[in-house]
Amino acid sequence: MSRDARLSPSRLRAVEIASGSIGASFCGKVLRQLGMQVVKVEQLGRPDPLRDLPPRVPGGDATGLPFRFLNSGKRLVAVDLEHPAGRELTLRLLGRSDVLVQGGTSSADMPFDRAELQRVEPRLVSVGISPLGAPALHGAEVADDFTAFHRSGLGYLTPRAMPGHPTAGLPPLKPHTRLLEMISGLQAVIGVLASLVDRQRTGIGDGIDVAEIQCALPLIRREIAAYLFAGTVATRGERLWKVAPAGIQRCCDGYVFVDIIEDEQWRRLCTLMERGDLLADPRFADRDSRFQHNEELGPILDAWFHPRSRHEVTELGQRLSVPIAPVNSPRDLFEDPQLLARGFFGELVIGAGLRLRAPGIPVSAPSPSAPVEDGSMMPGRDTVSVLCELAEIAEAEVRALGDRRLVGIA
């Protein structure tokens, strides 16, 4: 197997065209965090709508923080991708790059056809992310991240009923999280990396397509199996995994989640609550009987949990290996001793003395990267340097392209 000298991630280059796509922007962010150089190309005059996502820094510029977070450390270029000369310029950049990430909800968001690219740039690894997948981009159907979540099967199953908190009559719920978008972005990263590994041997890159609705399937493997092998259609109201007690418990300052799966954990929970008497109670003797008598467990647990704090309950419980976790809010997470001890939070350095704490990567890896200062996030901030250095175009020529409104120079 021959070794390609360029294959340290810091020598790999990615171009990202991800207007409106959290998944593709996150894919680019992960590639950046792995050490690749990432150039984000925006359509001239039509910047990425994700720039408008709140919140903004009070007193800061107009760029929303989610955009800053997703694009920190990338180089920002603005090109008129709808003009043949702008496309040609971008193709020149792609010819000197290793990876292209595209994302969006329509074919207009993803201007480069991957099959076509494979013919002109066979070494390029090119991935596209969209709610329903590439073929749908050319159809009439409109979709976005919200409709994709609900179409994917995740929505119908969310939220799951807990004892004391039935779901009857309540609509399926998309939590305020970017779970499916980011999972799709990670699957795109995985496809890209696998293709780069393979390219070391073959010299050829792949075109890869990722659909958000398909990326949800591994998450609901239990429900798919229950349907295919037992004919059961899982709902929000019925738990497929029949364990108890399993659900939220109110404490004096919020909630914790208790998740007793093994009988041994039930014994330890009884020890924790100083309720050894329950061990002899046939209603709670094993997993199935506890599940049958779930509602009766509620007041028993409540008596011990309610007067105590989330912290006390979690610490005492986990000391006995009882599966308990607090229901955390963002504020709790920034104070969480585990996250702090592992240095999970990094900084978003906005410039002019403005720094914000922000989540880092979930890996204690050999080479953590230092925060970069992004400062202005104006579209086209790095057009000149990128086109000069990476596309090898003379600066005067780039400026002339700017005068002709083919590229944007901030």
Binding site: G133, Y156, P159
Partner: protein, 403 residues
């Protein structure tokens, strides 16, 4: 001419895993063509080998639908790591592998003499990935963490709220899946950058992966000291994103009207007054959508879901069926993508499951093999790979080393 063959063909990965996050990480690599060997033992079977659902409702350690779906594409060998010989064979096997994935409790492999420092001596360019609930370090490294609890800890439950302040259960997906995907990323980066003597170990925290998914809420707190007050499906950034009941039992449509034009279209269709943004051209604030939501609900409530979707799609308003699993298996987009596959399993026959999630355009990456029976590849692993003869294997089986 279309290309064939999978991108990771020729790479071999060993799994010391159980339950879900580790097996899912291994499955991703198997789907990409790596030879993934799952090391198991009869001493302590994976909980999912015994959890069903079972075809024809007949239990069996090779018959569980969940186990078979999350382990298809792999090989299985059995080794009793409580024995010194078993641990020695495991080390020898690592010497023949490019990567190792493990998701035992932090410290378990070290106690067995199979920690990274030992394994890197066996294989100097080893790529090793450890997945654990909270990570290998920190005060909570030994905390028990199952998926549903991690949803609570990572902040997703607090973000799943109908506006009544009650955190809702969200199925235990985020941490296991996030951890598994970051684990696969780390393993692939290791393969991409490896060099002799450059063994690499990645410590992935499933909790941190799930926390990362809450980045918007975390940024809002960091910037403004404000905690979002979730209100069901309505997005904090405006627009009408909601699920509406259609005719029939528990049939819903998801509607996403996130531009003023979409809002006007919905209002015109349902006879409502469109909410308007006071004094600006942007989207009206969430509290002004009540009348429109009621009107859309009345309109969808008497109509078949397919009719609702046809009408809204023809007007360009993003919408979709809220698929249950039966709908999902017939979803035309998923069928067009060949998202589901079937394997021929020696004990349960035709086994359908989800397939690899990527479409490698113009390239056939092959179809994964069925999930392995327990120890189904012992002959290959111990005979062909490690070169043990039949008598030795029989003796090791007899003494419950290969077990």
């Amino acid at each position: 001419m279309p290309r064939s063959g999978a991108p990771l063909a020729g790479y071999r990965v060993l799994e010391f895993t159980h339950v879900w996050a580790g097996p899912l990480c291994g499955q991703i690599l198997a789907d990409l063509g790596a030879e993934v060997i799952r090391l198991e033992s009869r001493r302590r079977l994976d909980i999912h080998r015994m959890g069903g659902p079972y075809p024809e409702n007949r239990p069996g350690i090779n018959r569980s639908g969940v186990w078979n779906s999350q382990n298809r594409g792999k090989l299985s060998c059995t080794l009793n790591l409580a024995t010194a010989e078993g641990r020695d064979l495991a080390r020898r096997l690592v010497g023949l592998c490019d990567g190792v994935i493990e998701n035992f409790s932090p410290g378990t492999l070290e106690r067995l003499g199979l920690g990274f420092d030992v394994l890197r001596a066996v294989r100097s360019d080893l790529v090793m990935v450890s997945l654990s609930a909270y990570g290998q370090s920190g005060p909570h490294r030994s905390f028990v963490g199952y998926g549903p609890m991690m949803d609570a800890a990572c902040g997703i439950m607090a973000a799943a709220d109908y506006g009544d302040g009650v955190p809702r259960a969200v199925n235990g997906w985020a941490a296991d899946v996030g951890g598994a995907l970051f684990g696969a990323v780390e393993l692939l980066v290791g393969l991409l950058t490896r060099s002799p003597g450059g063994a690499r170990w990645s410590d992935v925290s499933e909790y941190e992966a799930a926390v990362l998914f809450q980045f918007e809420a975390l940024l809002a707190w960091a910037a403004c000291g404000e905690e979002a007050r979730p209100s069901g499906n309505l997005a904090p950034c405006g627009g009408l994103t909601e699920c509406f009941a259609c005719a029939g039992h528990d049939r819903w449509v998801a509607v996403s009207a996130t531009t003023p034009a979409h809002l006007r279209t919905l209002a015109a269709l349902t006879g409502a007054t469109p909410p308007t943004s006071p004094g600006s051209a942007g989207l009206p604030p969430a509290e002004l959508y009540g009348g429109l939501i009621d009107a859309v609900g009345r309109w969808t409530g008497t109509r078949e879901r397919s009719e609702v979707i046809r009408s809204l799609q023809s007007l360009g308003v993003p919408c979709a069926p809220v698929n249950d699993v039966a709908d999902l298996l017939e979803d035309p987009m998923l069928m067009a993508r060949k998202a589901f596959m079937a394997t021929e399993h020696p004990e349960i026959g035709t086994a359908r499951s989800y397939g690899p999630v990527w479409d490698f355009l113009g390239r056939s990456i092959g179809s994964p093999r069925p999930a392995p029976c327990l120890g189904g590849d012992n002959q290959y692993v111990f005979g062909e790979l490690l070169g043990l003869d039949g008598a030795t294997i029989a003796d090791l089986e007899h003494r419950q080393v290969i077990y």
